[in-house]
Amino acid sequence: MWSQPGLAQSSEATGQLRGRVILESKDAATELQAEMNRVVIYAVGLSEAAPSELKSVEQKETNFVPSVLPITRGQKVRFANIDTLVHNVFSTSEAKEFDLGDQSPGTQQEVTFNKTGLVQIFCNIHPQMSLTVLVLPNRRYTQPTADGQFSLTGLPRRKLKVFAYHPRARALSQEFDFTGGELQHEFKLVLSKTPPAHLNKHGKPYKKSKY
């Protein structure tokens, strides 16, 4: 844990953005409430050190839980397999390429994310498993409640750009001036149809399986 010059001090951290996220979907089958907890609101233009807290992602019932994880650059994530099956966690994203290999049920491994960016993580055995890790430059991020209300606090009192992100939406960004302290905003994210099939760790399509 080390601080950087220019890091916002706590006395400055009084800017806030409150508001609401509204989700829209062209696909009638989408459950908007369930999708709300995959939204991340974050601010860029500010660097902070990573907390020592270890974030955890579970492989459970052939799913990643959670499926969207915002973290700070430098933070560690623990991948725990609490499923009954073997999984193979990997990513080919530029921000973090890694391959945990076959992971037996009951085991766990840790990965440190040192570069900001979007990391798409999949399982090489089960194509339906998908995890998006947002590696952010700071700790100024939040996720809305089920009804879409959010509150992004601890912001420096200056201009910052705030993004609203959802894995299936075109990200929205807006520049705000937090000199005045608290601001209100509403983000409207339009969800596109479910993302297509991704390739496996070798860059090849998954073999179709009956299961």
Binding site: E94, K115, T116, L136, K161, F163, K193
Partner: protein, 661 residues
């Protein structure tokens, strides 16, 4: 099913079946089988259609998958080839930097760390410009446009655009005139789409703004009409193409309900690493299946109808075969109705029909038997007796059997004198009046009427219907007959008919075993009794003349009747011997009208006579008081007693010869 047919009677009493609902067996069977066949074929067709649909769906899905793969491959290959042709490769950092911008994911999220500066871009631009040779790629036309939509680089074609053309007008015109399919995706998508329609067949495009430091520096457009990629896309008729990128979405083709179609999705990747966007191909299966389905309907439905009709026809033929024996039965039954009690049935192999034929045969046999009984007896027996007989036809025994019965011979005395003065028609009429009255009396006691003997008739009790009290019935009947006859004679006397005052009635009764049966030939038959006992009854009837009586019974009748009529009073009036019969016959009259005294006196006279005390008998007979209707009897015995007392007969066995009465 009571409403299925209604039966009514016509004026002749024939049963009519109304035409409420009459369906022929042929139709029922034909329709049933026709419908079943049609349904069977129909359901097979549906199953077949279902299978075909699935097969078509799988084929279309495979095709889409292939198409999507090729498109995404092509894009990837296109960019790689491009990079190669400008002397670099996708591994080239500068190229990679530009590609990184193309993929733009982290960039668009504000999370990109590596930043390409404007200087880098300008250097790349210079590099691209320096390559003057008209590059043609097998795969793509690459246009790099700056922010003002000025072309900064192009590959392929021989279009020289000049340094800063106004893309909106000139560039598009030139592209069109060169026959190049070019599309432009701008931030103003509406304008972009307009240009799409304006130009010929744009099929694939990636309009990616090149953004560096949050500034849009230019655009990338990739399109090549000659590319096999486009050919591939052109093959995908009826396919809807959607391309999603961070900048937005592009769609070609008609939207449709995803339920009716199949989808295939791919990432559009460059150089294995950079994801440009998502490609989705979808196809409306209804469209692709339509020709197949039309064909199926065109051939399948007529075939189904054809086969059903065939089945219908076959069923009709079968039904007619089935109904033939039934129709034959009907013909035969109508003959029976007409009176011909001979049933000739053809025989069928179907056991239900066979059983029906057997039952019909039995029924008609039964009818014949009953018919015979009725026709035989209806003139002899009252209806209720016939009904009893019909209930047990076997008991009728028309052939002949021995029975213990009582026979009555009834005669109209002095009929000749009566008939002399009557016209034939009136004679018959009067005779029939007589018969009408006495037969009513007889039938009332359950008599079987025998033959008419001119001015008399024979009746008997105990056959064909067994009557335990046949003798008693006969006695009662005889009394009734006398009463009826006397009444009738009174009427005739009142009418002053000639000879009516001398009319009388004579009845002889005997009981015993006789032979009864239907005697005669096919032309005429009578149910009669034959035997000695019958002759005896006849003689008794005649013997009434000797005693001046109306009714004589044999001892057999008297004794038999007394069993059922304990109060019956009869008195022996004679003992006679009949030729051919060894045993003497005791003859009785009914004596309830006699006083007790007279009866006792007379009886004692007879006893005296039996004891051969002829003189004493004579004295008694003379002294006996007169009694109604007995004068002739007394006088006869007086004569006998006198004659015997004067001259006793040498051998007298107590019985008088009948012939000598």
């Amino acid at each position: 099913m009571s409403e299925a047919t209604e039966q009514s009677q016509d004026s002749r009493g024939l049963t009519l079946t109304s035409r409420a609902r009459r369906i022929s067996l042929s139709w029922v069977l034909g329709l049933a089988i026709g419908v079943i066949t049609f349904l069977a074929i129909g359901s097979s067709l549906l199953v077949g259609i279902g299978a075909a649909r699935r097969a078509a769906r799988d084929a279309a899905a495979a095709q889409l998958a292939l198409g999507a793969q090729e498109i995404s491959n092509s894009v990837d290959v296109a960019i790689e080839a491009l990079a190669k042709q400008i002397g670099g490769s996708v591994a080239d950092p500068l190229i990679r930097a530009r590609l990184a911008h193309l993929s733009r994911q982290d960039e668009s999220l504000g999370l990109a760390e590596s930043k390409v500066t404007r200087a880098d871009l300008e250097e790349a631009n210079r590099y691209f410009r320096s390559v003057k040779t008209p590059l043609f790629t097998d795969h793509a036309l690459l246009l790099l446009l700056d922010r003002e939509r000025q072309l900064i680089y192009q590959s392929g074609g021989e279009v020289a655009l000049g340094e800063a053309p106004d893309l909106r007008a000139e560039f598009l015109d030139q592209m069109e005139s060169e026959g190049l399919a070019v599309s432009l995706l701008s931030q103003d998508s509406a304008a972009g789409r307009k240009s799409l329609r304006h130009l010929s067949e744009p099929l694939l495009l990636l309009g990616r703004p090149i953004v560096v430091n949050e500034q849009v520096l230019g655009y990338v457009v990739v399109a090549d009409p000659a590319s096999p990629l486009f050919e591939k896309l052109a093959e995908l008729q009826g396919v809807r193409i959607e391309i999603q990128s961070a900048d937005g979405e592009l769609q070609f083709g008609e939207d449709f309900d995803p339920e009716h179609g199949i989808e295939e999705q791919r990432e559009l990747r460059i150089a294995g690493d950079f994801v440009l966007g998502q490609l989705r191909l979808s196809r409306d299966l209804r469209k692709s299946l339509r020709p197949f389905m039309m064909n199926l309907y065109a051939t399948g439905i007529p075939a189904a109808f054809g086969v059903s009709l065939l089945a219908f026809a076959a069923a009709v033929v079968l039904a007619r075969r089935l109904s033939r024996p039934i129709r034959e039965m009907r013909t035969q039954v109508r003959k029976v109705r007409g009176g011909d009690l001979q049933l000739k049935l053809s025989g069928s192999s179907i056991h239900e029909i066979q059983d029906l034929e057997t039952d019909l045969q039995n029924m008609v046999d039964g009818l014949r038997q009953r018919d015979l009984i009725k026709s035989t007896f209806q003139r002899y027996l009252p209806p209720h007796v016939i009904e009893t007989l019909l209930a047990d036809p076997e008991s009728a025994e028309l052939g002949g059997r021995a029975e213990d019965i009582t026979i009555l011979f009834i005669d109209l005395a002095n009929f000749t004198a009566f008939s002399e003065r009557l016209a034939p028609g009136e004679l018959v009429g009067r005779l029939n009046e007589f018969f009408e009255s006495i037969t009513s009396a007889l039938v009332a006691e359950g008599a079987t009427l025998g033959s008419y003997t001119g001015d008399g008739l024979v009746a008997f009790f105990g056959a064909p219907l067994r009557q335990a009290d046949h003798a008693a019935r006969a006695v009662r009947a005889a009394e009734r007959v006398i009463e009826s006859a006397e009444t009738l004679f009174g009427v005739w006397r009142q009418a002053k008919l000639h000879g009516s005052d001398r009319l009388g009635i004579r009845i002889g009764l005997n009981s015993g075993e006789v032979i009864v049966g239907n005697v005669g030939s096919q032309y005429r038959q009578d149910y009669t009794a034959i035997g000695d006992n019958v002759n005896l009854a006849s003689r008794l009837e005649g013997a009434n003349k000797a005693y001046g009586s109306k009714l004589l019974l044999s001892s057999a009748t008297y004794l038999a009747a007394r069993e059922h009529m304990p109060d019956l009073r009869a008195q022996r009036v004679d003992r006679i011997r009949v030729k051919g019969r060894a045993q003497a016959l005791e003859v009785f009259v009914l004596s309830q009208s006699w006083s007790v005294d007279f009866e006792r006196e007379f009886q004692s006279c007879l006893e005296l006579f039996d004891k051969a005390a002829y003189a004493e008998a004579h004295r008694k007979l003379v002294s006996i008081a007169d009694h109604p209707h007995t004068r002739q009897l007394i006088e006869l015995w007086q004569r006998r007693a006198l004659s015997f007392s004067e001259q006793p007969p040498p051998e007298f066995d107590g019985a008088f010869q009948f012939e000598k009465l």
